[in-house]
Amino acid sequence: MLIRRRTLLAATAATAVAGPALAQNYPRRAVQLIVAFPAGGSTDVGARILAAAAEKDLGQTITVVNKAGAGGQIGFTEVARARPDGYTLGFLNLPGVNTIMLDPERKAAFNVDSFIPIINQVLDPGLIWVKGDSPYKTLADLTEAARKAPGKISACTTGILSDDHLAILMVQEAAKCEFRIVHFDGGAQQITGVLGGHVDCAFDNVGGVFKRVQSGEVRGLAVTDVERSKFLPNVPCTKELGMPTVISSSTRGVGAPKGTSADVVKVIETAFLKAIKSPEMLQKMDAVGLALKPMVGAEYAKYYADTQAQAKKYTEWALKQR
C-alpha cells in the first residue's frame, strides 16, 4: 500500500519538476504545509495566517493541509516521509514531536534527525492557574500545600505527555512536592474541571487562558518561562520565582524533511521570516494571545536539540510512573 502510494507520488513529482530542486528554480509550484492538528485549532490558525503572509514573498501558493490524528503523530510522520524537495513542509510542535518519538510504545516512524527545523513562529509559554477565588495566591502556596499533603492536590494537564504534563513534573522536581495528576483532553475540559471545583489547579499555556486571567475569572500563578508574558505582565515567571529549571512552553515552527537542500531551506527561511516579522502578523497573533518568537538557523536548531534533551528526561520519568 505504502510503496504503491509512494511510487505514484514519485511519478507525479517527476512529471512536475525534472531534476533536483535547486534554489534558482524553487519554488516552481504550490508548496504544501502540513499541520498535524485539526483545522481551527491554534496551530492551524497560526499556520494559516503565516501561509497567507509568506505566499507573497515565496511567489507560490502555500496550501495548509491538516493531517490530524494520534496527537500529531500522523502529520509528523507524513512530513518525515515526504520527498525532501521543498514542496512539502510541516509545522513542528515542540515538545509534542519530541515526546512522541521518545515513547517507545508509540513506535514513531521518525526520530530527532528526520526533520530540518527551519524557522520558529510561536512560543506560547506554560501557565499555572487556579480558580479566581482559590486559597492559593502564589505558586509557593500551591507547592507548599502539595508538599504537606503529597498526592492530594490535583493538577490537570491538557493531555498525557503534553508540554503541560512535563511542566507538572518539572514543578514537582523543583519544589520537591507531589501532585495528583489528572489528564484532561484539551483546555476546555480544564476550564470546566477547575471552575466546577473538580480539580485544584491547571497547567496550560498563556494563549488559551490569558483573557480569563485578565478578567479575574481565574488567577495565573506563574508563567513557566525566563521572562513574563507580554499578555500577562502581572503574573510572575518561574525564573524570577527561583525555579529556573521549570521552563516549559508550546512552540510551533516550520520544518522540512531530512535531505532538503540547504539552498531551498534558505529560500523558505527568508520568505517566512519576512512574513513573521510583518506588522500584520503581530497584530493578528496578539489578538489570539500567541507570542511570536522568530528563531532561525543555528538558534532554532539549538532550541530543537535542547527541547529534545529536556523532553527526554521528563518523558522517561513520566513513562516510569505509568
Binding site: P38, G40, D44, G69, R106, H183, T192, K211
Partner: protein, 499 residues
C-alpha cells in the same frame, strides 16, 4: 426584563438586509455541508472560516452559526433518501427516516424534520435567552463522575429497552465497545489493538463506520434484490399530513427538552441527545412496534433534539467560553480570530454583539424552515433516479466523504469493511444501533471513568459522594430490575427496538 430589551435591539440589527443575507448564505452553505457525507459541521465550519475574514465581526459570527445549524439540518436529507448520514448526528434519523422513504413518505420525513428542527431550535434559543447564565454555571458542577454516570445510563437505556431482542442488542453493544477500545489509551497514552497502524491511534473513525453500516450495507442489500430504484414505492406525499403532524407534536416537545438539557453539558456531543430522544419516544409510544419501520415520531424526535442541542450548546460557549463539541470549538476559534472572546465577560463587554447573534439564531432557524420546506419535493425527486445510476453515485459520494474527512485512504477501507459487516448483520437480523451508540459512548465513558478515578485517587467511593452521579447510576439498575421482574406494562416492548 433587561434581556428582552437587549434582544429586541438584537432583532433590529439581525433583521437589517446585510445580516439577513449573511444568515441566508450561511444556512445555504451549511445545508450543503450537511448533505455532503464526511464533511460534517466541524470540518465545514473550519474550511469556511477564511470566507468570513472580510466581514465585520458580527456578520462573520452570524454566518458561521448559520452554517453550523444549517449543517445540522442538511445531514437529514441524505439520511432519509439514501440511508447515508450526511453528518454523524443524523444517524438516528436513518432508522425511521429511510424506512419512511421506502414507503413513499420521503416528503413527510423531510418535512417533519424541517418543522421539528425549527421548533427545537427556536424553543432552545428562547430557553437560552431566559436561563443562559444560571444554567451554565450549574452545568459546571457536572464533572467527570456525573458524565460517566450519564453515559452508563444512556447505554443501558438503549440496551435495556430492546425487549425480547435484548441478547442481540447486548451482543452488539459489546461489539461496539470492543471496537471503541481501539486507539491510544486515554490515560497511559499507549496504543491498544492498533497492530502498529498509525491510522488506528485515534480509534476507528465514527463517520466512515456509520456510512458503511448504513449506506454501503443498504446498497448491497438493494443490489441483491435487483431493484430498479433505490426506493421502489411511489412517492405518496410531499408534506407531512395533518395526522402525521399531530402524531409528532409530543415527540417534538420531548425532543426539545432532551436536546436542550444535554446541550448544556459540555462534551456530550450531538449524537447522544438524538439517541436518547429516540429511545424516550419509543418508550412512551403506545405503538412502539412501529419504530424502525417508518414511525414519523422517530424522525421528529431525533431531528428536534438535534437542533435543540445545536442551539443549547451555545449556552456553555457564550456564558462560560467553554466549547462543548468539536464544532463549537471551531466556532470559538472563529470568534477569537474575529476579536471576540466568548465567556462571562462577553455579555458585559459586547452586549450589542451577543444579542444580535442570539437574535440571528431565531432568524436563522426561520430561514432554514423557509429554505427547506419548498425544497423537500425537489430532494424527494432524487429518488426517481434509476438504481444503477443512484448506486454508483451514492458509492462515489460515500468514498469521497470517507476520504475527505482526514484525507485518508484508510478511512475508505474502514467504510467498505463496515459496509460488508453491516450487510451481514442485517441479513442475520442483528440490531446495528446499539453497536453505533457503544462506539460513540465507549471512549467517552472510559475517559470519564478514568479521569474520575484519577481525581479520587483510585477510589470508587467518589460516586457515592455525588448525588447526581448516584441518581443517574440508579437508572440502569432500575431498568435491569424491571426487566428481571418483567411487569405486564413492559409487555408491548418486544422485538426490534431500535432497528
Amino acid at each position: 426584563m433587561e434581556a428582552l430589551g437587549h434582544l429586541l435591539q438584537g432583532f433590529a440589527a439581525a433583521l437589517t438586509p446585510g445580516y439577513l443575507l449573511y444568515a441566508f448564505v450561511g444556512c445555504m452553505l451549511g445545508t450543503l455541508i450537511g448533505v455532503l457525507p464526511g464533511l460534517g459541521p466541524a470540518a465545514g465550519t473550519a474550511i469556511l472560516i477564511p470566507l468570513t475574514f472580510s466581514l465585520d465581526a458580527t456578520g462573520a459570527i452570524i454566518m458561521l452559526c448559520a452554517i453550523y445549524y444549517g449543517a445540522m439540518y442538511g445531514g437529514t436529507i441524505t439520511s432519509v433518501l439514501i440511508n447515508v448520514p450526511g453528518e454523524a448526528a443524523s444517524v438516528v434519523t436513518c432508522i425511521d427516516g429511510h424506512q419512511m422513504a421506502k414507503q413513499g413518505r420521503a416528503g413527510s420525513a423531510l418535512g417533519i424534520a424541517a418543522i421539528g428542527s425549527f421548533v427545537g431550535g427556536t424553543l432552545a434559543t428562547v430557553a437560552l435567552v431566559a436561563v443562559a447564565m444560571p444554567l451554565a454555571s450549574l452545568a459546571l458542577k457536572f464533572g467527570p463522575a456525573e458524565f460517566f454516570a450519564l453515559m452508563v445510563a444512556g447505554l443501558c437505556l438503549v440496551v435495556g429497552l430492546a425487549g425480547n431482542n435484548m441478547l442481540a442488542a447486548l451482543l452488539m453493544t459489546v461489539i461496539g465497545l470492543l471496537f471503541a477500545m481501539i486507539g491510544v489509551d486515554p490515560v497511559r497514552g499507549a496504543p491498544r489493538f492498533t497492530f502498529g497502524v498509525e491510522e488506528l491511534y485515534d480509534g476507528i473513525g465514527f463517520v466512515p463506520v456509520v456510512m458503511g453500516l448504513f449506506g454501503v450495507a443498504e446498497l448491497l442489500l438493494a443490489a441483491e434484490k435487483r431493484q430498479t430504484h433505490m426506493v421502489e414505492a411511489e412517492l405518496k406525499s410531499w408534506m407531512p399530513t395533518g395526522a402525521e403532524c399531530r402524531q409528532s407534536v409530543g415527540a417534538i416537545g420531548r425532543g426539545t427538552v432532551v436536546g436542550f438539557v444535554l446541550g448544556l453539558i459540555p462534551g456530550v456531543g450531538a449524537i447522544v441527545p438524538t439517541f436518547m430522544a429516540y429511545v424516550l419516544e419509543k418508550r412512551v409510544s403506545k405503538t412502539p412496534e412501529r419504530f424502525g419501520k417508518g414511525a414519523i415520531e422517530g424522525v421528529a424526535s431525533a431531528e428536534t433534539a438535534n437542533n435543540a442541542y445545536a442551539n443549547a450548546s451555545m449556552v456553555p460557549l457564550l456564558a462560560l467560553g467553554i466549547p462543548s463539541s468539536p464544532t463549537i470549538a471551531v466556532l470559538m476559534g472563529a470568534f477569537i480570530v474575529n476579536g471576540i472572546t466568548p465567556g462571562p465577560f462577553l455579555f458585559k463587554e459586547q452586549p450589542a454583539l451577543v444579542w444580535t447573534v442570539i437574535a440571528s439564531f431565531f432568524v436563522g432557524n426561520a430561514l432554514l424552515l423557509i429554505l427547506n420546506l419548498p425544497l423537500v419535493g425537489l430532494w424527494a425527486k432524487l429518488l426517481k433516479i434509476p438504481f444503477s445510476y443512484m448506486c454508483a453515485g451514492v458509492l462515489i459520494f460515500c468514498v469521497i466523504g470517507a476520504y475527505g474527512l482526514k484525507q485518508s485512504l484508510f478511512d475508505v477501507w474502514v467504510m467498505l469493511g463496515f459496509g460488508i459487516l453491516g450487510y451481514l448483520l442485517r441479513k442475520l437480523d442483528f440490531p446495528i444501533a446499539p453497536a453505533i451508540l457503544a462506539l460513540i459512548l465507549g471512549p467517552m465513558m472510559e475517559k470519564s471513568l478514568r479521569t474520575t478515578l484519577e481525581i479520587s485517587g483510585g477510589s470508587f467511593a467518589i460516586f457515592l459522594d455525588r448525588p447526581v452521579a448516584l441518581a443517574l447510576l440508579a437508572i440502569p439498575v432500575i431498568v435491569i430490575a424491571f426487566l428481571l421482574f418483567k411487569p405486564r406494562s413492559l409487555a408491548p416492548l418486544r422485538e426490534s427496538d431500535i432497528e
